[in-house]
Amino acid sequence: AQTITIGLSLPENIEGFDFVNGMYRTFAAEVEAHSDMSVNIVYGGALGNPNDRLAQMRRGVIEMTDAADGNYASIFSDIMVLNMPYLFPSEQVAWQVFDGPFGTQMAEDIREATGIRVLGWWESGGFKHFSASRLIESPADMEGLKMRVLGPLATIPVEAMGASASPVAFGELYTALSTGVVDGQDNSVSTFNLIRLYEVQSHLMMTGHVYAFGPLGISDAFFSGLTPENQQVILDAAATAIAYNRETSRAVEASAITRAEEAGVTVVRMTDEQRDAFRQVMQPAAIEWLQGNVDHPDLIDAALAAVAAAE
C-alpha cells in the first residue's frame, strides 16, 4: 500500500494554528479510514522551508506539503493575481471564487505547469492586517512609517502610501519591532500572535488588505498512479479537510483578535469607507506591477470579474 508523506511547517502541538495542522490531520484520518493507504506527517519544518518542501513535492520525493500562496508564486507567477490588495471583499466571496470556475481553471494550470495537483484551496488564517506602533486610520497615516513587508507585490502598494518598506527576516521581526528598526508589519492575526507581536505593537488595524490562502497540493505523478477508488478517497478527504480548515480558520481568527486585545493591543475596526481609501491607493499600484510580472496579465481582469460575479 502507498504511503503519503506530508511535510508541514509548524510543530505538532502548536496553539492557534489548527487550521493548518488540523486540516492535514483530518485529511490523514479520512484517507486511513477509507483506504489501505497510510499517511506520515512530518512536523516542524523538519524537511526544510516551505519553498524547499514544495520542490520536494514536485520531484515526488514527498507527496504533500503546506506551502502557501507566496511559495507557489516562485514556480507559478499567475497565482500572485490572487494576492492583489482588496481583491476579495470577504472570506466567503474568496471561497466562492476559489471553488468556482476561476479557481478550478487555475488549479488545472498549476497542475500542467508544475506537476502539482491542487485538490482545493485552504485559508491561511484569513486576511492580513497592518499593525504598527501607532494608530493608522487612512493611507495618509502610513506616511513615513517603516513597514516590514516581503517581496515586490507587498512592497509597492506600501510605498505608494508613502511608507518605506523594509525586508526583515521572520526570525528577527520581533526584535526589529521592539527596538524600532521597523514600525509595523502585516500578517494574519494568528501569525501576529504566534510570535507575540502583541508585546511590541500597540495597534492592530483590521485593514484586511490581502487574503492569505494556500493550494492543497499533492504530487500529480503520485495521484495519477493511484487506483480510481483511491483517487476518490483522496478527493473526498481533501474536501472534508478544507471544510474543516475554513471553519477552524474563522473561529481561530475570532479568538486570536480577543487574545491580542487581552494582551493590550488596540484593535481598530475599519469601516467600508476607510478600507476603500486603502484600496484606491494600494490596488492600482499592485495591478501595475502585476501586469509586468505575471505570465498571463489577462488573469487580472478575469479575477476581478470572477469576484464581481461571486458578489
Binding site: A55, S74, S77, K146, E159, S164, S166, P167
Partner: protein, 160 residues
C-alpha cells in the same frame, strides 16, 4: 605536468578572489540596507535576497578552495594517531579520505546540475531572476572542487 600545476594554482587564486568579492558584495549590501532605511529611497526589496545569494556563492567557492587546502573542519585524532604509529597506514587513510572527498564532490556536482535544470523555470521572490543563477553555485563549486580534489590526490602522490 607543470602547466597543469600552474593551471590549478590559477584556479585556486581565482576562486579565492571571487569568494572575497562575494563577501565584499554582501557586506556592502547589508551596510546599504541599514543606511537606506533612513533615506527617502527605502531599502530595495531585493537587497536581502541578493546578499543571501552572495553568501551562498561565497561559501561554496570557499568550500572548493578548502578542499584543495585540506582545511575542512574535521576530527583528527585517528589520522594523527595512526600517522604517528604507522606512517604508511596514516598516508593510506588520508589518501582514502581524499578519494572519498573526490567521490562526494562528483556526486554533488552531478546532482547540482539536476537541481539547476529543475529550478530553470522558477523565479526568485525578490529579484525575480531565474533560480538557476543562485542554484548554479552548486555544480560550479562542486565541479571545481572535484578538479581540486583530484589535483590534491596527485600532489599527495608526488610531493613537491
Amino acid at each position: 605536468m607543470k602547466a597543469l600545476a600552474s593551471l590549478v594554482g590559477a584556479l585556486d587564486r581565482g576562486l579565492r578572489i571571487v569568494a572575497a568579492l562575494c563577501l565584499a558584495g554582501l557586506f556592502l549590501l547589508m551596510l546599504a540596507q541599514v543606511a537606506l532605511r533612513y533615506t527617502a529611497l527605502g531599502v530595495p526589496a531585493f537587497a536581502e535576497e541578493l546578499a543571501r545569494y552572495a553568501m551562498v556563492w561565497m561559501a561554496l567557492l570557499a568550500t572548493a578552495v578548502a578542499v584543495r587546502e585540506g582545511s575542512h573542519i574535521r576530527v583528527d585524532f585517528v589520522p594523527l594517531a595512526l600517522g604517528a604509529a604507522a606512517p604508511v597506514l596514516g598516508r593510506a587513510l588520508e589518501a582514502v579520505l581524499d578519494a572519498l572527498t573526490l567521490g562526494i564532490c562528483l556526486v554533488i556536482f552531478w546532482q547540482g546540475l539536476d537541481i539547476v535544470s529543475f529550478a530553470a523555470g522558477q523565479r526568485s521572490d525578490g529579484l525575480r531572476i531565474p533560480m538557476s543563477w543562485p542554484y548554479g553555485a552548486m555544480p560550479v563549486a562542486f565541479g571545481l572542487a572535484a578538479i581540486l580534489a583530484l589535483a590534491r590526490l596527485f600532489e599527495r602522490r608526488t610531493p613537491a
